[in-house]
Amino acid sequence: MTEDDSIDEARLRELSEQAAALPRSIDPPSGAWAGIRSAIEADRNAPFDREQVATPHPAFWQRPIFLAAAAVALVAGSSVVTAVAMREIANRGNTVVAASPERPSETLTQSSSGPASLAQFTVVESDYLRAVNDLSATLESERGSLSPETIAKLRESLRIIDTAILEARNALAADPANRTLIEMLANSYEQKVDLLKRTTEMGRG
């Protein structure tokens, strides 16, 4: 740097502070989404490119540390909500209603002949997604009956489970026939459905 290139430190700090304070979000023009949607729909003749899902990166999920951490996180996350839910129910003096709704994964987890590939699991997955959507909608309508603490714990647990779902889903995309991963994914979905179901029942209790 020459002398001519020097910048007053105080002025530079001021500039950096001003830059950091600039808005990070600016509303785009209202018609922007329509253009994106049109372009995507025009391109829809081409099937969704599943080949792109494959990754050259090493399969991180194969590391024992990840599997252990994921398992612990799932159990811990679910248990925390369950504990909060149970305490809340106990405080109300109500009885827990046994979970009875259908379980999309029943045939998968109780049988060794579940989906053998990602393509087959997609059928089961749509049932999970439907169940999750239905329960989430119900829960949303009943959220007034839940304590802020329960809602916060629920959100945190859902975040943990969602992370596990997405990790497994991405790993499956790279290794579509891996039954261990399919089972992990199914278990994560099962956890999510159970968690939402228990919380919904608690809200009704």
Binding site: L12, V53, T55
Partner: protein
């Protein structure tokens, strides 16, 4: 099928709000499976930040920024299967935005010469009268008038918070070039704002 479609269109506020920079896994998976309504949820959550980045990268040119943002989201749709949770979703989108900007610039010979070279001797033009703009608008205006290379480096470093090394990797240039461009931007901006 119709029922399933209707169910999938339902929003999931409890989950969608579960993380500031991360759409819910369900939403991403649905979009990865070709659900355009789920992708719109992602767009709704991230378009403001992406548009702000586009607007600054394109020097305040709104039509160009809108086009770049649309290009970014179309690329995101096509490449959603490649997204991994190793980085935040917003970071992934930002990277797509910068890549789209660079590729578009490479396709435009007039821009190509202005993206990063150090021999760009452009100066910030005269600003609008200071009393007609607040300090923020002064800075936005000054940023918009920076030479493209300095502007890109400044926006990514000082506004978006990326490190020199990250910017260098993303732009495919040497770290020293990025540092020089950021320094140049600082100098030009201070000069413009002090007028």
């Amino acid at each position: 099928m119709a029922t399933q479609s209707a169910v999938r269109k339902a929003t999931i506020p409890l989950q969608a709000n579960s993380s500031a920079n991360q759409p819910a896994a369900d939403v991403i998976i649905r979009a990865q499976n070709g659900d355009l309504d789920a992708f719109k949820l992602i767009y709704n959550e991230h378009s403001g930040k992406v548009y702000a980045l586009c607007l600054r990268l394109m020097g305040g040119d709104q039509p160009a920024a809108t086009e770049l943002m649309q290009d970014t989201f179309i690329r995101a749709w096509k490449n959603l299967g490649r997204f991994r949770r190793e980085s935040a979703f917003s970071s992934w989108l930002h990277r797509l935005t910068v890549n789209a900007m660079l590729e578009n610039a490479r396709g435009d010979r007039r821009r190509e010469a202005r993206v990063l070279p150090m021999d760009d001797t452009g100066q910030i033009g005269a600003l609008a009268p200071a009393d007609s703009l607040d300090a923020r608008m002064d800075l936005e205006t000054a940023i918009a008038k920076l030479p493209a290379g300095a502007r890109t480096a400044f926006v990514l470093h000082d506004i978006e918070g990326y490190q020199h090394q990250e910017i260098a990797e993303q732009l495919g240039v040497a770290v020293g070039t990025v540092k020089a461009q950021v320094h140049r931007a600082h100098k030009l901006l201070i000069k413009a704002l002090d007028r």
